[in-house]
Amino acid sequence: MAKKNLMAITGAEAAAYAMKQIEPDVVAAYPITPQTPIVEYFAKYVADGEVRTEMIPVESEHSAMSAVVGAAAAGARAMTATSAQGLALMSEIVYIASSLRLPIVMGLVNRALSAPINIHCDHSDAMMVRDSGWIQLFCEDAQEVYDLTILAVRLAEHEDVRLPVMVNQDGFIISHGVEPVEVLPDDVVKKFVGELKPIYPLLDTDHPVTYGALDLYDYYFEHKRQQIEAMKHAYKVFPQIAEEFYKISGRKYDYVEPYRMEDAEYVMVALGSSNGTIKDVVDELRGEGKKVGLLKIRMFRPFPKAEIQRYLTARKAVVVLDRAASFGAEAPLYEAVKSALYEVAVRPLMGSFVYGLGGRDLKPEHVEYAFKRAMALDLVADKEEYLGLRE
């Protein structure tokens, strides 16, 4: 295992640093708060000759995604990054990237979608494209951003997968907060990601292929089915790649991360940086002898249903925290977890709490409140509640 090398960096720099070590052939990106520092750091690496990557300073996110699609189809390893409005603008091509089965890796620095315009964190951007066919990983801290960005390359490019991966980090909270991050030596990362093995590259003019054909009712459905299967493969190969990553880093990554779950009766489920806050509250309540625990969801697409069933069956109560609303329906994470638990033998009592929209702080007392409601078995499965909201 490599010698420890700690850097005090932000989540944005952690993403950029990982990208530097991956050294993709092409990066096309357009700045937007809070993703901007990723583009800035990377542009500097290019300007200083620290990477041989060709950077395309596109005029919009729509063109950023369009250009990485072109680059990936040509046979290059291509990456980008964005936030909220940028993702919304490129969303048409986000679907095309996955449907053309291009192994692109994109950092998504989560930010609330307009309107009203807001630059702070929530997960409405990621949730907007949750059915776009991208693998979605959520990070708790800068270390995970660094690690999962590297891991994502292997997942995307695995021959049974060939799907794009979105590595989510909470805007400002992770992207602009400085943390110690243990980085790997360049050569270890290079060796881990290896060389991209292009499949049907456009630049192979001796074997011409057509990308993006018109596909009507006689084939479209079968192609979508293949995409559905590819997601299943992503689920299947993730542990192998995570195991390999463990061998070089000593850091273990699973679809989900259980925290003090052994005998937990009351469990919280969440995505992203809030898991840090929740862990603190769990420790505190555990100190008081309360049987609470946390199930952090790291992979949201493909959705780790089996793990969720395994961890949550027969618990007394489960509260799900969502940093996004689904107007007119249940919040996305809650809906998914609840649906997964339909099939378990002993279903827990469930409650849904939406929090943190537009960057509103999630305070320990909010988490504590939600746990108390769970412990009092005072939850209504059909009722969405809000944390830290003025009514």
Partner: protein
């Protein structure tokens, strides 16, 4: 490899252009002619074309899965982003060449094709970005003056008085009222570009400009007037003649702008009135039934006359004065 007629003819007769038979474009449609002529020149010059195509009539008709009419690498991404897509392909090429992962002796030509909708309207930003960044690409506009794939809707390229479904010639309104956007001027306003108009009715001019465009050290843009027989409501065997008429009536002047230097490449000794161009096409039939038809046509005549004078003036003023 120098361009010879023999080589061009060989590629054409051996069907080696890269666009093979079996596509489902209407007989007489000028879009596939435009594409084939461009590819013929590229191949004759020894280039390996890699094609990007914007959504539109030609794209849907040439790639109906599981068939494809393309025997060269081809990517269709979306409607408005062919320029950005080809910039990605071209950049990938530069990156992989640097890394020694593509054969260094291969001469690639990155060619984007877009219709007028994909170029004048929804794709203008993507095109402008790619031109400004200076990608070594050739962008070919096949201009049929409307959204034909979706059934003849108005575009920024549709001429005044043409009947379209979104600007129909009605009892109160004479169809589209605005003039065609001047796309070549927009493109030429970017620095260090080559921009030209062509049309298949003038094949020598077409071939020369494509050769120049491919060899230009920077982004090149070629606008080809490419009539749609279906919605221009013309006979299949008249589509190329119409393009000649467009040149003879100053409707589609043939010229080029190379780094700011204008050159008018066809200067007919006598011109025909633009009314002849209008009257030759069914899409103006309803206009011609209106009492204000003559006025609208005379405004168009006035416009093409002034534009022609301006072009000659630009040619004179910019002679031997490239911007860089």
């Amino acid at each position: 490899m120098p361009l010879t007629m023999k080589k061009l003819a060989e590629i054409f007769t051996n069907r080696e252009t890269g666009l093979t038979q079996g596509h489902r474009m209407c007989p007489g449609c000028v879009a596939p002619m435009t594409v084939k002529m461009v590819l013929m020149v590229a191949k004759a010059l020894g280039y390996e074309p890699v094609i990007g195509f914007a959504t539109g009539c030609m794209e849907v008709s040439s790639t109906i899965f599981p068939y494809t009419s393309w025997s060269v690498p081809y990517i269709h991404n979306a409607f408005e982003n062919v320029a950005a897509t080809i910039s990605g392909v071209e950049t990938a090429y530069r990156a992989l060449k640097k890394a020694g992962k593509v054969p260094s002796d291969k001469k690639y030509a990155f060619i984007a094709f877009g219709g007028d909708g994909g170029t004048y309207d929804i794709g203008l930003q993507s095109l402008s970005g790619a031109l400004e960044r200076g990608h070594k690409m050739l962008y070919v506009l096949y201009d049929n003056e409307g959204y034909m794939n979706t059934g003849n809707q108005r575009s920024g390229s549709t001429p005044p008085g043409a009947d379209t479904t979104t600007a129909p010639v009605g009892k109160a309104v004479a169809g589209k009222l605005q003039l065609k956007k001047n796309i070549v001027e927009i493109v030429a306003a970017h620095e260090n570009v080559y921009a030209a108009t062509v049309t298949p009715g003038e094949p020598m001019d077409f071939i020369n400009k494509v050769e120049k465009a491919l060899q230009f050290d920077g982004p090149a843009f070629i606008a080809s007037l490419s009539p749609c027989v279906r919605y221009w409501r013309i006979d299949e065997n008249k589509s190329v003649d119409i393009t000649k008429l467009a040149v003879q009536t100053k409707y589609w002047p043939l010229y080029e702008v190379e780094r700011g230097v204008y050159r008018v490449t066809r200067k007919p000794t006598s011109f025909k009135p633009v009314a002849e161009f209008v009257k030759a096409q069914g899409r103006f039939r309803l206009l011609l039934q209106r009492p204000d038809a003559e006025q609208i046509i005379s405004e168009l005549q006035n416009y093409v006359d002034r534009r022609w004078e301006r072009l000659l003036a630009f040619e004179e003023a910019t002679k031997n004065k490239p911007v860089r």
